[in-house]
Symmetry: D2
Subunit: 280 residues, 4 copies
């Protein structure tokens, strides 16, 4: 399936300000960037770095005072595999590839060390595998209000576990923390997300599970607001701290970002009930 | 029903140390202290204060370096009323006596302001009244492990809501916070508790509800470890901060307190399923 | 000195809503309410309760859907005693009246149990008494930014100790927690405050110290924004939880309150450097 | 300088338990492992993974019930460069290599997002560079008690900023968080540390600064208990979550680890006042 995605970010810069952006579609397994454009106004020099362990594409610019605008568009093909949920199981700690360990560790906004007992008590009896991660997402949907204005940039899974309200970022953090507490390596994914209304940068999660063709990362949207097989990935990280779409190091004002995604050609996916594996 | 209760506290005092104790049975509605003894060794002078709004009996001594021992015994008659749970209902905010407001406010260890959404989501649909407070206690029993070594003197309901382990103090704090979030004035009660094993100072709660003969405080043991109609009350407070059995202001060492309670005469209460109203 | 004070509160009530207000000037030692008016529109019935231990005057109304307005004015005489700072000293734990104990205990927003080491390390070497409380307030002014939009109704002294920004409420909470950690009973005071710009409900603190004529409560404004000898007290509590100017139990919208205070007659106080004792 | 280092870890394993260990000296810039031995008893199979971005050497074994012992020894040559402190300066956000960004992000135990204002207020006026990181470490030494029994495995920089007591791990976390808040990429280093008494696994930090020969990582011991130029590095991470010396996934008991380090040959380093750059 092909998607056209993009974003438009507008700033009023007050002091010379370096920005780090992470808004470009990842060039990663199961996702091909067929074309893309990046327009900066004014047209400042861009420095790039792709993080080896994640494939995240960071870019840095330094902007002088005045208005600044970034426009990004891309055409991206994704080919997620849809698999029977019951065919996707868990992997014992003895068998996990050691390279996924970083996604078992607690992180800034996903304090899995503190949520251990809650996770075990609530989900210990669930069928291991896709079903258990799905149960975590369902529980979050049943127990947390999706609403703005309650959480902020410092809100963590520990807070949301009790305060029970938040946005996609908070839903993802809580899901990640609970899955890690259950021994399932889980990571944060920022994305352009099909069907999300209103369109915005979205946060979903990927859990490392055993599929019919081997171990890999399976995608879940704890908010249930997008199509898991219609996710164009931007960045992957331990949590939101690692994939901020914009990190300004200076005094700025900004407008709400414009973000869009459009399915190209044939019929766009609905909300699948299959297990979605982003990479083959 | 009459009970003999008592405690024995032993200290090794290293510097001249004022102590505030709150270990004497309260002389309060529904509870009569028929006899009591207080022995201090060495026999230092005692200063007393009974807090008007709670009836708590605080005593202060200042102890010189060396061993110090406090022995307290009392014979106490209590006459809790047992009522049909379904006859005990909630009182609307418009109708609560204003004097119970302090037990609706959040306190150090009972952050009802932060648990509001959790309380509403989990217990909003329960039958208001005794049944709802009982549901809170049942939920805590089902979801929190009763175990030592996890919580400490700084652990609060906000922590326990996520960490899911604690002792009687933590169970009481979480129950109080959840009930206050539901609009039910609730207070912390330290007590000598029949059937508690091993014997120790215990923490239970009282919720302000509407009974068949009018509004009043109803007793619940969120740990389910004691007989709610076998509770000899020591202190009442917003939370544990207000009814510490001993507050030393100096450098001391202490042994584990010995605490006891014995039912006198006729048959001692089992664990009632009736609503227990401590004061008539 | 006489002051005219008042406030005007406007609501749009959506469901039948009980409100508890605490906006009337306290009738308490050192403060005389010479005249006052309370106008409600619509003119609903008022129920009153004065809390015995604090003198706080709570009033409750139940309001039907529609606009609701409360207008309060009072003429209040206050007669704070100004004393030489060096004449105001601390009281040892062995000598404190037991009735001030509740203001030594940690409370919801003043976790003195957690700030103990910070307080001892930072202020342990200060001259005990007025000078030490003053040093606490100076330190807060030097280390915490007075600014809105950072803290909210759930922010506590523990947060502000690290986040270092807040409003009068946060300044008061941090000062109270630090003073309690130092063994000084300290309480939260809501007030009409002379010289505060822009006018608003203000939060200051009172510390229990030994003055030349005996022990009593001494007033400090940790924000340094008002005249400590120009404070008309409304409510006294362990912290802000206990003296909210308005507690609605229903669905409402509100406008920013209008609050005012005007010195009557002779010359109004400047910002005194003397110790201010509110009650004789 | 050459060091002999090693550790001996003893367990009683109750259920089949996978362990991940990170105890081997890193083979990394400025540090050469000249010889090493690893003895396991019983002699279970070892699986290894070296994390590309850090060089950390993780090993995994799965152990059956019974006693289990790991003995590690190594001979390691280190060649830290000692440089004049005033020659080591800071790097602006616009000039940092993007690859060090992960050590600017907040992490589980180093909430630099929450400590921003504290860091700016306390250290904003310090001379940028080595002097500023050194000022952070001095401040922690002046303001935090080095003592066990206060902090635990869940204690974070946010807690230590207020509670003011902890061990090497807590000192490192607070230093890292403060440096990141100041815009200095900083990472956690677990190590065998010369002069540390009693010997144990140690935690120090590395800050990314501009030296006379270019940018690089500079080592600081916020506890001041070891010789910064006598540090044999084991693991590097965002914080302690990433370099636990042992992570058991099962039911075990353990003895306190034995850890040692001995300088070989010539005179061992004292506590240098020079800036220590671990890698050339």
């Amino acid at each position: 399936m092909d998607y056209k995605v993009g974003c438009s970010l507008s700033y009023r810069v007050k002091t010379p300000t370096p920005f780090v952006f992470n808004i470009e579609a990842a060039r990663t397994g199961g996702q091909t960037v067929k074309a893309e454009t990046l327009d900066l106004s004014p047209n400042v020099e861009v420095e790039r770095w792709t993080m080896p362990e994640s494939g995240n594409r960071y870019l840095r610019v330094t902007v002088q005072p005045g208005p600044f605008k970034l426009d990004y568009t891309a055409e991206v093909a994704i080919a997620p595999a849809l698999q029977a949920p019951e065919s996707v199981t868990e992997i014992l700690a003895a068998d996990l590839p050691l390279s996924v360990l970083p996604h078992l560790w607690p992180s800034r906004y996903c304090q899995s060390d503190q949520l251990n007992r809650l996770a075990q008590r609530t989900f210990g009896g669930e069928m291991p595998g896709y079903a258990r991660v799905n149960a975590v997402c369902n529980w979050i949907n049943d127990n947390v209000d999706y609403m703005g204005g309650i959480s902020d940039a410092m809100t963590s899974a520990f807070d949301t576990a009790t305060q029970r309200a938040g946005v996609c970022r908070d839903f993802a953090h809580l899901a990640i923390a609970l899955c890690r507490s259950l021994g399932i390596p889980t990571r944060y994914v920022s994305a352009y997300a099909h069907r999300l209304q209103p369109p915005d940068f979205h946060a979903v999660i990927e859990a490392f599970l055993q599929g019919p063709q081997g171990p890999g990362w399976y995608l879940f949207d704890p908010t249930r607001k997008s199509a898991p097989d219609g996710i164009v990935r931007i960045g992957i990280g331990r949590d939101a701290a690692e994939v901020a779409f914009a990190s300004p190091f200076g005094d700025i004002e900004y407008d709400k970002p414009e973000v869009w995604i459009e399915a190209q050609g044939g019929s766009a996916p609905g909300v699948t009930t299959q297990a979605v594996r982003a990479e083959p």
